[in-house]
């Protein structure tokens, strides 16, 4: 059995992550959980960048750097998001997405 891992395998993983992330976002009601799901999406792309760089274009570092920046920015985003979610919690004492539907129509 050939255990060599191809680029495709990585992509399958990243795609599964992406879909999990999206699915999680769709289904989880807790805002923190949705935040985690978004992280999955972002990480799926980071994997993509790393894998493409490593396997397809090994001579350069663009993908790696992109992945690094992506991680950093995702962290920043998460921080802000959590801050705002806390703010929501302070105001209405709930963090379920179904509870923040005051603005609609």
């Amino acid at each position: 059995m050939d255990l060599e891992i191809h680029v495709v395998h990585y992509l399958v993983v990243s795609t599964i992550m992406l879909i999990c992330g999206i699915f999680g976002f769709f289904t989880r009601k807790n805002m923190l959980a949705t935040l985690i799901s978004v992280e999955l999406v972002l990480n799926a792309t980071n994997i993509n960048f790393a894998v493409f760089n490593r396997y397809l274009f090994p001579g350069q570092l663009e993908g790696h750097f992109f992945a690094l920046f992506g991680i950093a920015i995702a962290a920043a985003e998460t921080a802000v998001a959590i801050a705002i979610i806390i703010n929501v919690y302070r105001n209405i004492k709930k963090i379920m997405t179904d509870d923040v539907t005051d603005l609609n129509g």
Binding site: T45, V80, V88
Partner: protein
């Protein structure tokens, strides 16, 4: 590069100033912000083509002009924010407001002058993360927080999708430099997918249908000044960025993205209009209006020509002044009447505040595209550019899109007139009482009004933009 550097310096200066200025003296900060922003505009008034970081940063003359326009718009927003920032519950956050706003502006600068997807991505995030803070700025209003959370979650999701698209570009091209990627792209299905994903990310910022769903909620919940900023500056920058990337990077897939745009434009304008008709809350109403306006802006992108570039920037300029005039009036009334933003509150406004009503009327007419106000000219040129391309390519599909857009102007006229009707015609026993707005608000509105009236009539603006567009986009 000069523009970004000076802006970054300003941000640092404001940061330092914020540290040392006492809360009670927040006025100093406001003055400082005006002065610095004026200086920023003044020193960068001459557009220049610059390149840095080995081409990761590449600012064309047009981009430079756009940046100046964005700075000007920001200045107008600041002027409108004057009263709001002076309020007790926000004055202690004055410095933060400026820093956050200017940071997003810096992000937009990078966005419009990126030469590499990484820089573009950083710019985009720099523009949207502080924006989330701004949206949730009114800490004790839960609508503000709700708007903020909707914005940030949607933004994260969309940036995830966009990043996925960028990763596909990287995977198929092996480079993230715009110029190299453009050469390497061939239009395979995977690349089409990448393009759509990327498009969705920017479509989110411009609030194109179906990526627009956050817009009304966020616009309604955010502080009015921030809504104004979000609706014009952020949207304008994203539109320009989208256009330059579609034209520069995805040039090979022009047929794909014009079709994509065609569908999206029709959807955007129609859906925006259909929703706008029913809105009672003016901020929410303006959100839908801005969605449909975004559709018109995209017509210029669809044109895919120098004429289109000039028309787009021209449209953005006029959209900025007109929309800011409307938001200026809305915020002015909101601040002076204790938070009234419903359309019914405006009934009979003409009797008590004729001048504000007048500004509002002209601005709405401009948005509806009625001559002799500027909006008419910008709409005309946008239509002309899209029509021209359709003619040149002998594709009547362009004409159909233009036609649908034109038919939609009637619906939009209807809802703009509803506000005019409320202000002039609908009788009201207790209209909002007469008030005197602050110097800065008035100055801001006067500038907007002048813009609404004169930018269209004075052809030099369009001429200048066309010349610049030709210089930047010799294709």
């Amino acid at each position: 590069m000069q523009q970004e550097v000076t802006l970054a310096l300003i941000i640092l200066l404001m940061l330092v100033a914020d540290l040392f200025v006492k809360e009670s003296n927040s006025k100093i900060l406001r003055v400082l912000a005006y002065v610095l922003l004026v200086v920023q505009i003044a020193v960068n008034i001459v557009p220049a083509e610059t390149s840095a970081f080995e081409g990761m940063y590449h600012s064309t003359q047009m981009a430079s002009v756009v940046k100046t326009i964005l700075s000007l718009g920001t200045l107008l927003v600041f002027m409108q924010a004057d009263k709001w920032l002076g309020r007790e519950d926000t004055s202690f956050k004055t410095g933060e407001f400026y820093i956050l706003t200017l940071s997003t502006l810096l992000g937009m600068f990078f966005m419009v002058s990126a030469g590499h997807f990484l820089l573009f991505y950083i710019g985009l995030e720099l523009a949207s993360i502080p924006m989330a803070c701004l949206v949730a700025f009114d800490k004790f209003r839960h609508h503000s927080a709700e708007a903020g959370v909707k914005y940030i979650l949607n933004a994260m999701f969309s940036s995830g999708i966009m990043l996925y698209g960028i990763s596909m570009v990287y995977g198929t091209c092996g480079t993230l430099y715009f110029a190299d990627a453009a050469a390497a792209l061939t239009g395979t299905p995977l690349q089409v997918l990448a393009m759509v994903f990327f498009f969705a990310g920017l479509g989110f910022k411009i609030s194109l249908v179906p990526f627009h769903m956050w817009t009304p909620d966020t616009y309604q919940g955010a502080p009015t000044t921030v809504t104004a900023y979000l609706s014009v500056i952020s949207k304008g920058a994203a539109a320009f960025a989208l256009m330059s990337i579609l034209m520069k990077v995805f040039g090979i897939m022009v047929e794909d993205w014009t079709l994509l745009l065609g569908i999206v434009i029709v959807l955007t304008i129609t859906v925006g209009n259909l929703f706008a008709i029913l809105q009672k809350d003016l901020k929410r109403f303006m959100a839908y209006s801005s969605i449909s306006q975004a559709g018109y802006i995209m017509l210029a992108v669809m044109a895919d020509s120098g004429q289109g570039v000039a028309s787009l920037v021209y449209y953005v300029v006029i959209y900025i002044v007109a929309n800011l005039a409307v938001f200026g009036v809305i915020s002015s009334i909101e601040q002076h009447s204790g938070g009234k933003v419903e359309r019914d509150d405006y009934n009979g406004l003409y009797k008590t505040n004729p001048r504000l009503t007048f500004v509002m009327t002209l601005a709405l007419f401009s948005l509806a595209g009625i001559p002799p106000f500027a909006g008419f000219f910008s709409k005309f040129f946008v239509f002309a550019s899209a029509f021209h391309t359709g003619f040149a390519l002998e594709q009547t599909g362009y004409w159909v899109v233009v036609f649908i857009a034109l038919v939609n102007t009637i619906i939009s006229l209807y809802y703009y007139l509803l506000i005019v009707k409320a202000m002039y015609i609908t009788p009201n026993d207790n209209p909002i009482p007469t008030f005197k707005s602050g110097v800065m608000e008035r100055a801001g509105l006067s500038i907007c009004l002048a813009g609404v009236v004169f930018i269209g009539l004075l052809s030099c603006v369009y001429q200048y933009l066309t010349d610049t567009a030709l210089l930047s986009w010799v294709s």
